[in-house]
Subunit: 544 residues, 2 copies
């Protein structure tokens, strides 16, 4: 490690992608460059034909991903001013489960003249929710058959996952289904494009395709019971998956030429945007609860033991860090909900700062309000897309700032509820590490996470966390570090802002949380039919 | 009735008073004049001493009431241009229970040098809530002793009523208590001032002082059990009460001179602002639900039979119209709550029209929201000042207009809940008559009352309804009509805007109302401790 060496991290989000250049020794990000996808999220009309897309559809264009690589990589090389030949590794992360049908050569079907007018030929973005009926059917049959795999996923299969999206193609466009050699996670497809080698990793297989190293995929009998005739579940997915941190191969010559990277650059197997934040913020120890808090929240913990518990998104071996069980949970509306309040209710997009300041001047409990952040359903614990948000305790004296604070508190209570769920099932959580846009922008939100949970909250002062985490995997693939744990230890961010829990605030919040939990169980569970019926009426009336 | 004759109506509100001049034959209001009280509501410092008032205190200055009479009456006489000698009667209405201590000559203690620095010497406005502990104690003891009178008041004594306010004086300033010859409703005091004759009426005695023609006042034993030593409950109240519509006397010469009215003007006994709206809008029949909808809602019905039922403010014989049982109920935050949304949340006082328009363009059920209008507690059915408002069903797609509509719907559901309560106890309600500021300004609110309840809503197109109703009692006192029923029949407003219930809307609202009722019982009754605890925490933290 005496010579300088560098790694590229590529981070593919929902609206844009970015590249960073990382100094492998220090872990410092030397340069970064973001590129917006020219076609953005495709959710209204199909670009090829102009066909109107049904509701709940969300697609992407793979050419946009290539554009990101071809533009952003040369830019970071130039900006950092390091010799290109000193770049040794490259790692990527992508949204998940974003999946696309490709030929046996890895060519996306939607880029071929023959298929580009077929909407099922395009990549389905993670938030494509049109396969909800398939997901419901798969959950139902798994429950009926008492399938053991279901308990790894908190008891529920999401419409965002691999098989709902694949079976949707199988049901609705059998020609596309038959024409594709593979139906592949975009993260794995990018690696294929970079290296010329198909190489799928264990993490998305585990979290999104119900695969596990011990049991493989759910049985053919299970799929046949749900969808008679769907009898080759592994046909488009493959059955061989390699661990995170593995090297997929060197760069293709053509890619090297276009990007200016050396052909020797070691490309790590694909990864997922939320999960790479764990190494990105320097976490590798069990007991640390990592919260990526932005538009929504993704929570992650790693632990040497497997505990199957309800109310999580999943627990997967090697799913976040190799050698550990990765646990995922989350909250569906966070920054989204705050933006809704500021833009739709207050109608004053410039008022964030003022609202945060006003809210911060209030005492815990002083709002007299309690809110449920179910503006976009509840991802975990309830796993229910049809519950909706609530604010209780309103009076003529309630102010905008009080409501804003109550929304922040609802996010904090939601997080505490999730942490309580882990602890009630034996997973001790000692500290919180938070990152993402809101961790940087809202000290009040961080203090509330500390005060409601009684745990220290650490916010590492480091930029471009997911891309940084991806680059660390690139450094591991290049052999700069023996494994990701060594890479994390060597590059752990030095500057960390820590929020200490205020114990008096905690005592007050414990009282409010008691109220919250009781209402949570009533509105979200025992009488959840009330919120469901409210939504049903709304949907019927809007349709009519 | 061949000669033209006129009556004056005087309406004393919370912030201002007004006079109208009524043509007794047609019922037309020929002129009106409003005067703001120079001292407004006294709720911060005592005008005489500058002493800071405790929270929940609200006083008025009796000189302000005199100012209204001396200014507004000459103005309406002049504006109408009718000969003063043709004015035959005068009626007044006042907020209630607004009460003051006076000497045996009817001089308010607070106008005397000796007493004016004592806060208990001043008139306590209806919304003076500092006697809440007394009210709670009186309710508690009435329940313990199974006092029969309590069932006339829905099971609860309000802090706004006569005895809580009187006992507050007795407890906190015995000198003022001993010094006053009488503690009197402001409505009766104004009549005393106008005529020189003390003449208290049955209506406030019944609704606010727990008196009834059959049983008189609650027993001395009851009061002694609650407050040992308080053994002369009738001492400051008197025990003789005359029916509404009676003549108290002619005008004092001095008043006649100052106002320009003839000394022969017959002055009717006092009345209350909400109740005079019943004759004011032309209602005298059982089965009509009168809603006065403004800052808050006061609901009234008259019926020949007495039914004691929970969840009302009171049922009093001769309480609204002589010869009938008057029932009162209400909602605590209505216009107040809408103003809160427009001013505090939207922060755009000019947006009422836009919000009403946007809300009116939505379908029933389309908001997906359900709200509880408990922003200022719940007056009836719950009679609980400590419950607070709620909005459920919020999503990222919820709009300002949807929330505004949900607030209007919460008012309509609150009214339906009250009507259901009457009907569940055998009082059939066929139609609704609405008046007040919101009845005039919000066609959507009126349509929602119709659509949620399935009843026609009539809005009489007539101005200055309470003052008009007061003037009708003046006309009866003058003998222009034999009784108030004849006066109502003769002057019933001709122009009425009627809102027909839409049955399809009703079917949708029945489904939402099912959800509303279930949540109402949960949040307001079975688990009311949740909202109470939330408020308790708020109060503690604001104090701290």
């Amino acid at each position: 490690m005496s010579d300088p060496s560098y790694a590229v991290g590529l981070d593919f989000g929902t609206e844009s992608g970015r590249a960073v250049l990382l100094d492998c020794r220090s872990g410092d990000v030397l340069a970064s460059s973001a590129v917006r996808y020219p076609s953005a999220v495709i959710d209204r009309t199909l670009p090829s034909s102009g066909e109107e897309l049904p509701g709940d559809w969300a697609l992407q264009d793979p050419d946009d991903w290539v554009t990101v690589i071809e533009r952003a990589v040369p830019q970071v090389l130039e900006e950092a001013g390091v010799p290109a030949e000193a770049v040794v590794g490259l790692g990527i992360d992508f949204t998940s489960c974003t999946v696309l049908p490709v030929t046996s050569e890895g060519v996306p079907l939607c880029t071929l003249e023959e298929w580009r007018d077929r909407r099922h030929a395009w990549p389905k973005l993670w938030k494509h929710h049109a396969a909800q009926p398939v997901a419901d059917r798969l959950t139902e049959v798994a429950l009926e058959r008492e399938e053991g795999f279901l308990s790894r996923y908190g008891g529920r299969i999401s419409s965002e996952w691999y098989f709902p999206k694949l079976i949707e193609v199988w049901l609705e466009d059998r020609e596309v289904y038959d024409a594709c050699a593979a139906f592949i996670e975009a993260t794995d497809w990018v690696v294929w494009w970079l290296t010329g080698t198909e190489c799928r990793q264990t993490a998305t297989a585990g979290f999104k395709a119900m695969w596990s190293p011990e049991d493989g995929l759910p049985s053919t009998e299970y799929f046949e019971a749900a969808y008679p005739g769907f009898d080759q579940p592994g046909e488009k997915l493959g059955e061989r998956f390699v661990p995170l941190g593995s090297k997929a191969g060197p760069l293709r010559a053509e890619v090297a030429k276009k990007t200016g990277l050396p052909e020797t650059t070691a490309v790590a197997v694909g990864n997922v945007d939320a999960w790479v934040s764990v190494p990105g913020v320097g976490v590798e120890d069990p007991g640390t609860f990592v919260i990526v808090i932005g538009t929504s929240i993704c929570d992650m913990i790693v632990h040497p033991e497997e505990t199957r518990l309800p109310g999580i998104t999943g627990v997967v071996k090697d799913g976040i860090l190799p050698g550990q069980y990765g646990y995922e949970a989350g909250q569906a509306a966070v920054g989204d909900m705050l933006a809704w309040f500021v833009e739709q209710v207050a109608q004053d997009p410039g008022s964030y700062g003022e609202l945060e300041k006003g809210a911060a001047a209030l005492q815990p409990g002083e709002t007299g309000l309690v809110a449920f952040d179910w503006w976009n359903g509840n991802r975990t614990i309830l796993g229910d897309a049809d519950v909706t948000g609530a604010i209780l305790g309103l009076t003529l004296q309630s102010t905008r700032e009080q409501i804003y604070r109550a929304l922040l508190e609802s996010i904090a209570f939601g997080s505490r509820r999730i942490m309580d769920n882990f602890e009630e099932h034996g997973l001790v959580l000692s500290e919180i590490v938070a990152c993402g846009g809101i961790a940087e922008r809202s000290p009040l939100m961080m203090q509330l996470l500390a005060d409601t949970s009684g745990r220290r909250v650490h916010v590492p002062e480091v930029q471009e966390i997911p891309a940084r985490g991806a680059a660390l995997f690139g450094a591991v693939a290049a052999g700069v570090y023996d494994d990701i744990a060594s890479a994390i230890t060597a590059t752990r961010p030095e500057r960390v802002r820590t929020y200490e829990p205020d114990l008096e605030a905690k005592r007050t919040y414990d009282r409010v949380y008691e109220i919250y939990r009781t209402l949570y169980d009533y509105l979200g569970r025992s009488e959840v039919r009330l919120l469901h019926e409210l939504k049903r009426i709304r949907v019927e009336r809007r349709g009519g």
